[in-house]
Symmetry: C2
Subunit: 262 residues, 2 copies
C-alpha cells in the first residue's frame, strides 16, 4: 500500500507569515503523497469586523449565519487558500486548492437544529469523502489543499471544522493508502507537565489512553482531541501525530510530537 500523509494546520501557523513560509517549505519537502487541510486564522474575524459582520455567539458557541458564511468563503477559500497554493507552487509543490464542493470531494450535512441553531455548519464523517476523485488528483501528481468549507450537495456551502475534515479524509483514504494523520498545533504534543515542553509523551498506545486520563497527563481539551484520534485509528488510520508545525521535518525519523498508535 502506498503511503499518504494528511496534515492539518491551524490559525497559529496561518496568521504568522514567517511560520507559514517555513511550514510550507517543510510540507513541500515531505516525501510521498500528501494532503493539507488548513483552518481559518484571524483574517476572517478581522474582515468580518471591517464589514460589520459581528461574530454571533449563542450559549458560548460560535454561529455561522449567512453573512459569516460569505466572509469565511471569501477568506478561507479565496484569500488564504489561493495564496497558500501560489506559495506552494513557488516552492515546487504542485498544490491544488479545494473546498469540499470541488469535485464533490466532501459532501457534508448541515448540522441539525437541536438546542442551538449553529447556522451554516457542516457535519461529516468518512463516508462524506469521495475517495475515488481524491485518488485521481493524487495520481495526477497533485497535492490537494483543503480549506474548511464543504457543501451539502444542494448548492449550499457549509463552514466545517478543519480537525474533523482532516480525520474524515484520513479515515476514508485509509482504505486505499497506509495513512498517517498529522495535527499541527501550538504545543510539541502531549506534555506530562503542560508548562514544560521537554516533558513530551512521545508515544501513546490505545490501551494506555484511559490510564493517562486517570493520571491527569491527558486533560482538558486534549481529551476529545485524543479520543477523536483513536477513533480514526480504530477506523483504519495507521498513526496519528500531534505536534508543533515547526518540528514537522522530524516526522521522517518518527520523532515528531506525540505518536498515537493501536
Amino acid at each position: 500500500m502506498k503511503k499518504l500523509s494528511v496534515i492539518k494546520i491551524g490559525g497559529n501557523v496561518i496568521d504568522n507569515s514567517e511560520k507559514l513560509h517555513q511550514f510550507l517549505l517543510d510540507f513541500t519537502a515531505l516525501p510521498g503523497d500528501k494532503i493539507l487541510i488548513h483552518g481559518g486564522g484571524k483574517i476572517a474575524t478581522e474582515l468580518g469586523v471591517t464589514l460589520g459582520v459581528e461574530a454571533k455567539m449563542v450559549e458560548g458557541r460560535r454561529i455561522t449565519d449567512i453573512e459569516t458564511l460569505r466572509v469565511v468563503t471569501m477568506v478561507y477559500a479565496g484569500l488564504i487558500n489561493k495564496n497558500m497554493v501560489a506559495q506552494l507552487q513557488a516552492k515546487g509543490c504542485n498544490a491544488i486548492g479545494l473546498t469540499g464542493a470541488d469535485g464533490n470531494l466532501i459532501k457534508a450535512v448541515k448540522r441539525p437544529v437541536k438546542d442551538i441553531d449553529y447556522g451554516y455548519v457542516g457535519d461529516l464523517d468518512a463516508s462524506s469523502v469521495s475517495t475515488e476523485t481524491l485518488s485521481s488528483l493524487l495520481n495526477a501528481g497533485l497535492v490537494p489543499v483543503f480549506c474548511a468549507i464543504t457543501h451539502d450537495g444542494d448548492a449550499q456551502l457549509l463552514n466545517t471544522n478543519a480537525d474533523t475534515i482532516a480525520a474524515a479524509v484520513a479515515v476514508a483514504m485509509s482504505s486505499l493508502y497506509e495513512t498517517s494523520l498529522i495535527y499541527c498545533f501550538e504545543k510539541r504534543g502531549v506534555l506530562r507537565d503542560v508548562d514544560d515542553e521537554n516533558s513530551l509523551v512521545t508515544e501513546i498506545r490505545m490501551e494506555q489512553f484511559d490510564a493517562l486520563k486517570e493520571e491527569g497527563v491527558v486533560s482538558g481539551g486534549m481529551i476529545p482531541k485524543l479520543h477523536n484520534a483513536f477513533e480514526a485509528i480504530k477506523s483504519g488510520v495507521s498513526a496519528v501525530y500531534i505536534g508543533k508545525a515547526d518540528e514537522l521535518p522530524q516526522i521522517n525519523g518518527s520523532n515528531f510530537g506525540t505518536r498515537l498508535i493501536k
Copy 2:
C-alpha cells in the same frame, strides 16, 4: 479527437442570480468535455467600496494594486467561484473550481511596466496552460471552472482578463481535443444592425472578416473581439461562437450566435 467546449461568461450573467441559475442548468446539459471561465461582476467592486478600496484608474485604465488583488481574490476565487461550483454540483455537474495557481494550470507573467503600471495583472498565451494536468482533470470526469486569477509561479497571484484566459485555454487544448471556444455576452452575436437582434450574422469565415469591417458590420469593440477569435482559430481552435448566454442550448444545433470558422 474528443470534443471540448471552452465557455466564457461575464459579469452580466454572474450578477443576475436567475440568469446564472439558468445558464448553469444549460451548461450542465451540454454534452462532452467542457471548461467554464467566469469573469468578475459587480460584487468585487461593491466589496471594494465597502472596504474603502477604491477602483484605481490611470489614463482610463483600471489598475490592480495589492488591495484590489486581495478583494478580487476573495470575491472571484472564493465567493463567486465556490458558490458557482456548489450550484453546478447540485445540478449534477462535477465541477472543480480553480485559479491558474491550482495545479500550476495557468502560469502568467506580470504585465511589464511601460507607460502604465497596471499592477498585479497577468499576461498569458497558450504556452501558459498546463494541458497535461488539465487533461487529467477532464479524464477524471471533472469539469474545470476557472475564475480570472492566475499566478506567476513565484508566489504572486495575478488578476487576469477572462476572455484572454478562455482563448489561451482553448488554443492550448486544441492540440489534444477538437475545441470550440464560446463567448457569452450581452448581444445575440454580431448584428448587421446593432439595434436589431434579428439582424444576426450567423457565420463569418476568416476571409470575410476584412470585408465586414469595411462594410461597418463589424465595428467598435467587436473588432478586437473578432480579431482575437480568428487568432485562436489560426492557432488550432475549430470554431469560435459569440452569443447570448440564454441561447446556449441552441449550440447543439449549431444555431447559437455568430459562428466564426476558418
